[in-house]
Assembly symmetry: C2
DNA sequence: GTTTCCCTAACGTCCGGTCGGTAGAATTTT
DNA sequence: AAAATTCTACCGACCGGACGTTAGGGAAAC
């Protein structure tokens, strides 16, 4: 790869995932890229901006993925299944980035923090709307929409914590397990 | 409180929760205790040991809680319900400590890290045994025990991420929601 | 001949941790 | 009971080092 900006990004993702944002120094990143640490600043204005650009890109892609996977159906249950699978898939396929996006928010300036949280809220709202619609139509049982949405999202998100790319189960199988688990949780007593 | 060691501990929990372990300095902690930072080292050998003692204490209490709540019954479903509620309750009542225990493992030395991970594994095994026993007896449906246990645990654990002590719902109500959600997830197709 | 991309060198700051010391309480010795 | 010693809890000053960031320059590409 001869695009240094991309290299810096991907090396950072690797290191932030492995050691954490605060424990990773600019020298570490420069080292991983084979350049001097001062050269990083030609591509990114600061360490924080580097983090922010990773988080922002990840959140945008995440939302795009979800929206694309909802477009194929207008049946609530099908949509919820598609949403869960999209969510799981994204978090396992891009495990390192999503892990960072969920654990390193504290490294952001307050303005950047606000932007990311807002993106996350929009994403959550899509799930909340599905739960609401489903329980209105009697497809899902009535329940606390917010708590249920947090449950569903964190459930899948946490996958990025323990998932091993070369583990026993392929991504699709894990997605199917979560799908079944969540739908039957939403349909309790129905 | 005139026990300075306890004060240091609780101030640290507060700060580690709010700012993170690496972003919290010994001076910050000393400041919060109203003493000089050198005095911290009279009570704890290092910053890392302070973190470790918090994590170890929390994990021990967590496991004790779980074991106590299982002793009242020998019915698998009842035990699983009790386990889930114990897990949720502990994570919400001692939100700050459990949050730290789940996010700051990287601050530990490798020996200390090993100890905590081992405690966590023992804790997880209790849940895995319950799932296994339940599916053997036909109370729960067959499924991947590990994935299901991760799902259950991270689900509740994540509560410590978003829970607000003075929010809409009391802890018991949240525990009940999770209980219902999880049991029906475990019983799908039964 | 300007822009791109990377370099060497350095800066100020802050951090975890150490050191020597002190005041006073507790304990032991006489 | 008085004197001598030890222990507890803390302080102020200080280290060495690492960190994020900046300044200025040089070579190559356009």
């Amino acid at each position: 790869m001869n695009n240094m900006k991309e290299t810096i990004r991907s090396v950072s993702v690797e290191l932030f995932f492995k050691k954490g944002y605060f424990a990773t120094s600019i020298s570490d990143i420069a080292n991983g890229c084979g350049i001097q640490k001062a050269s990083i600043y030609h591509h990114y204005a600061s360490k924080e901006e580097l983090l922010f650009s990773i988080l922002k890109g990840t959140m945008d892609d995440l939302t795009d993925c979800l929206k694309a996977s909802l477009a194929n159906s207008d049946n609530v249950e099908q949509q919820m299944r598609a949403a869960v699978r999209s969510h799981v898939r994204f978090h396992l396929e891009r495990q390192k980035e999503t892990f960072i996006a969920n654990s390193e928010l504290r490294g952001l300036t307050s303005e950047h923090h606000k932007i990311i949280v807002q993106k996350r809220n929009e994403y959550e709202r899509i799930f909340q709307n599905l739960i609401h619609e489903g329980s209105e139509k009697g497809v899902f049982s009535k329940g606390d929409v917010k708590i249920l949405s947090y449950a569903i999202l964190t459930l899948c998100t946490a996958g990025a914590t323990w998932f091993k790319p070369d583990g026993r189960l392929p991504i699709e199988e894990i997605a199917a397990i979560y799908d079944g688990f969540i739908i039957s949780g939403l349909k309790q007593n129905i």
